[in-house]
Symmetry: C2
Subunit: 360 residues, 2 copies
C-alpha cells in the first residue's frame, strides 16, 4: 500500500483493507453509512463487503449517472440520511465514481453542518482527479459543479481492483485527466504516455501515483483556486461546456471524452494565443484521436457552448478564462480568447473528422 | 463604532457606514449583490442605500419568513445569482434577520464553491446570535438548520438604527438569546437583566456587546461545536422542536418566543437532572412570563416534539442531548433526560397557564 500524505488527510493506494478495518474498529462513529448507486451495488459493493466482514453499513442508494448530480438527488440523499437517523458523529463512505464522491461529499459536508466522510473512488477518473483538492458539489442550471464547496474527507482509499469492474469507455474517460496532468506539468511523462499502445493493458497504479503528485503539488500551492490551481483547468473550459450541453441530449459524453475534445480545442487556442508550436498541437491531436472516438460538435450548439463557458466559475470578469499550455508540460493560467477564436477552435476540432458523427 | 475582533473577521457595532464605504471602495469585487426580502426592502434598504450613495448593488429578493428558509428558496437565490452573472469574485451582502443571514450565507458559501459575503443583521436576534460562529444553513424536513455548514463572513456590521424598524415582538424574540447568554455564562448580568422593566426603553447596544463577548469566548474555544459550544444550546432542544412544529401550524412562533418556552422547560429539567434549585427555576419562570405571551403546548403534539428533538444534530447517540444550567450563570453540556421527564417538563410549562391559549 502506498500513502500520499496531504495536509490534513491521506490517500491510500493499493491493498487498503486492513488499514480501513483498523480505522473503523478504532473509531467511535455513531453509525456508518455507505452511498452507492445500482452499478456500484452490483459490481463494487460485494468487493467492499467481502473485505470489511466485521461491520454493518447502512445503505444509501441513488440512481447512477451525471444527469442525477443535482439538487433533487441531494434531497433524496439527505432524506435517506434523516430516515437512517444519522447525526454529525456518523460516518459516510462514498463508494463510486465522481458523481458519488462529489455529491456524497457535498451532502455529508452540509448534513447537520458537516460529518466525516471517506472517499472510495471506483473509477479511473475519480481516482486520479477527485481524490485531491476537496472540491465537492453538484450541477445546477446546466452549469457543472456550480453549487458546492471545498472540504476534505477523512481519507481517500484507492483500490485498483475496482478498476477491473469498469467498462472500457470509463477507463478511457479517466485517462483524459492523466493526459491533462502531463500536458500542464510534466513533459517527460508526456513522452512516456506516447508509448502506451493499448489502454486495456496499462498498469494503472504506476500512472496514478505520478498524476496524483502533480495534482497534490498544485493544490497545496493554491487550495482555493485563486491562482495556479487553475492550471488544472486545461481542456475544461471548452470541455465542460461540451459535456454540459451533451448531457441534455440523447448522446451524453463521459467527462473525459468531453475533456479530450476540450484539450484539442484549447491546444489549438494555445497555438493562437500563447504560441504553442503547431507541431505540438498536432502531436496532442494525434495522440487523442488515436484513443478517443469521433464526435461532431453541432454548429447549432456553438452559441450554447459559449454561453456555458461564460458561466464558468473560474472567470474573473466578462472574459472567458482559459488555461493554455506553452510548451507541452507547462500550463499558463488566466489566458483569454475572443469568442470568434473559440468558435474557430471548435471548427478546428470538427474538421479533424470530415464525416459528421455523433450528436447532430 | 465598537469593534469586536474575532479570529478571521471583525464585528463592527454602531456607525459602521464610513468603514463600509471605504471597504467597498478599496475592494475589487466583480459585482456586488444584496439579499433582501419585501420587509427589508421597505424598511432597511432605504437606510442602507442612503448611507452607501456611491455604489450600486444588484438586488436579490426573496419572500420573508422562516417558512421560506428551505431548499426551494435557496434554488431561487442561486438562480438569481446565476442570472446576475455573479462569480466567485463577487460580493454578497445579506441584509436582514436570521433567515436572510443563515440562508444567504449558505447560498454564498456554496455558490461556485464559495464567494465573499457580509452579514448585516437587522433584527435583535440576528445581531446578538447569528453574528458570531459561522453557522449557516436552512431547515429541511421540518428540522431546523439541518442542512448547512460552518463558514465565516468577511465582516459583520451591526447597525442599531435597524432595530427601530422592528415590531415589538421581534425585539422580544431577540431578547431571549440575551437571556440565554446570561443564564449559561454570566450570573451577574442575569441580576442586571432582572431590573429591565420595559423592553421598549432598553439601550440595546449596551446589552449586545456583553452578549457577543460571551458568545465569542465560547465559540473561540470550540468553533465546530464538539464540546463547550453546546452550552449555547440551552433552551434550544425543546425550543427548536416547539418552533419547528409551530411553523407548520397557523400560529407559528418566533424563534425567541419558542426558545423562551424551551428555557422554562429546560430550567425545570435542570432542576430534576442536575439539581438547579427550584427557587432559581421560579426566578427564571417569573422573568420570562413577565415578558413573553402565553402559549399552550398541545398534548397531541408531544410525540412530534420528541420526534423532532431526536433529530437534533447535537445528539451523539439515541439519547436526546441537553444543555442544562446549575447554578444560574453556568451551563452544563451533554446532559440527557428520559422521554417521560421531557414530557413532564412540557406539562410543567403548560400548568403555568391554567387557561389554554395559543395553538390547540
Amino acid at each position: 500500500m502506498e500513502i500520499i500524505q496531504l495536509d490534513d488527510y491521506n490517500i491510500l493506494i493499493g491493498d487498503v483493507w486492513s488499514t480501513l478495518n483498523t480505522f473503523l474498529k478504532e473509531s467511535s462513529y455513531s453509525k456508518m453509512a455507505i452511498l452507492i448507486d445500482e452499478n456500484i451495488e452490483e459490481f463494487c459493493l460485494p468487493i467492499f463487503k467481502k473485505n470489511t466482514p466485521n461491520f454493518d453499513f447502512l445503505k444509501i442508494k441513488i440512481n447512477s449517472g451525471e444527469q442525477h448530480k443535482n439538487l433533487e438527488t441531494c434531497q433524496n440523499i439527505w432524506q435517506q440520511m434523516m430516515a437512517l437517523d444519522l447525526n454529525r458523529n456518523a460516518l459516510m463512505i462514498n463508494l463510486g465514481g465522481g458523481v458519488i464522491g462529489d455529491m456524497g461529499g457535498f451532502c455529508a459536508s452540509t448534513f447537520k453542518r458537516g460529518m466525516d466522510f471517506l472517499q472510495m473512488p471506483t473509477t479511473l477518473l475519480s481516482q486520479v482527479d477527485a481524490s485531491i483538492g476537496g472540491k465537492l458539489g453538484i450541477d445546477f442550471m446546466q452549469v457543472k459543479n456550480s453549487i458546492g464547496l471545498f472540504n476534505n474527507p477523512r481519507a481517500v482509499l484507492i483500490v485498483p481492483e475496482f478498476l477491473k469492474t469498469l467498462p472500457f469507455n470509463e477507463i478511457r474517460s479517466g485517462f483524459a485527466e492523466i493526459i491533462k496532468h502531463t500536458l500542464i506539468d510534466n513533459a517527460e511523462q508526456w513522452d512516456a504516455l506516447q508509448s502506451i499502445q493499448d489502454l486495456k493493458k496499462v498498469d494503472w497504479p504506476a500512472y496514478l501515483s505520478p498524476s496524483l503528485y502533480i495534482k497534490k503539488r498544485i493544490v497545496d500551492e493554491d487550495p482555493f483556486e485563486k491562482g495556479i490551481r487553475k492550471a488544472l483547468n486545461f481542456g475544461h473550459t471548452v470541455g465542460h461546456a461540451i459535456e454540459g450541453w451533451a448531457l441534455e441530449t440523447s448522446k451524453p459524453l463521459l467527462h473525459g471524452e468531453a475533456i479530450a475534445i476540450g484539450m484539442i480545442c484549447e491546444a489549438w487556442l494555445s497555438h493562437k494565443v500563447v504560441g504553442l508550436p503547431m507541431e505540438a498541437v498536432e502531436q496532442i491531436v494525434h495522440f487523442i484521436l488515436k484513443i478517443y472516438k469521433p464526435y461532431h460538435l453541432p454548429e447549432s450548439a456553438f452559441e450554447d457552448y459559449i454561453h456555458l463557458m461564460k458561466k464558468d466559475k473560474k472567470n474573473e470578469s466578462a472574459a472567458i478564462n482559459f488555461t493554455m499550455i506553452q510548451p507541452i508540460g507547462k500550463g499558463m493560467i488566466n489566458q483569454t480568447a475572443a469568442q470568434d477564436l473559440i468558435i474557430e477552435s471548435l471548427n478546428f476540432y470538427n474538421q479533424l473528422y470530415p464525416q459528421k458523427v455523433g450528436v447532430d
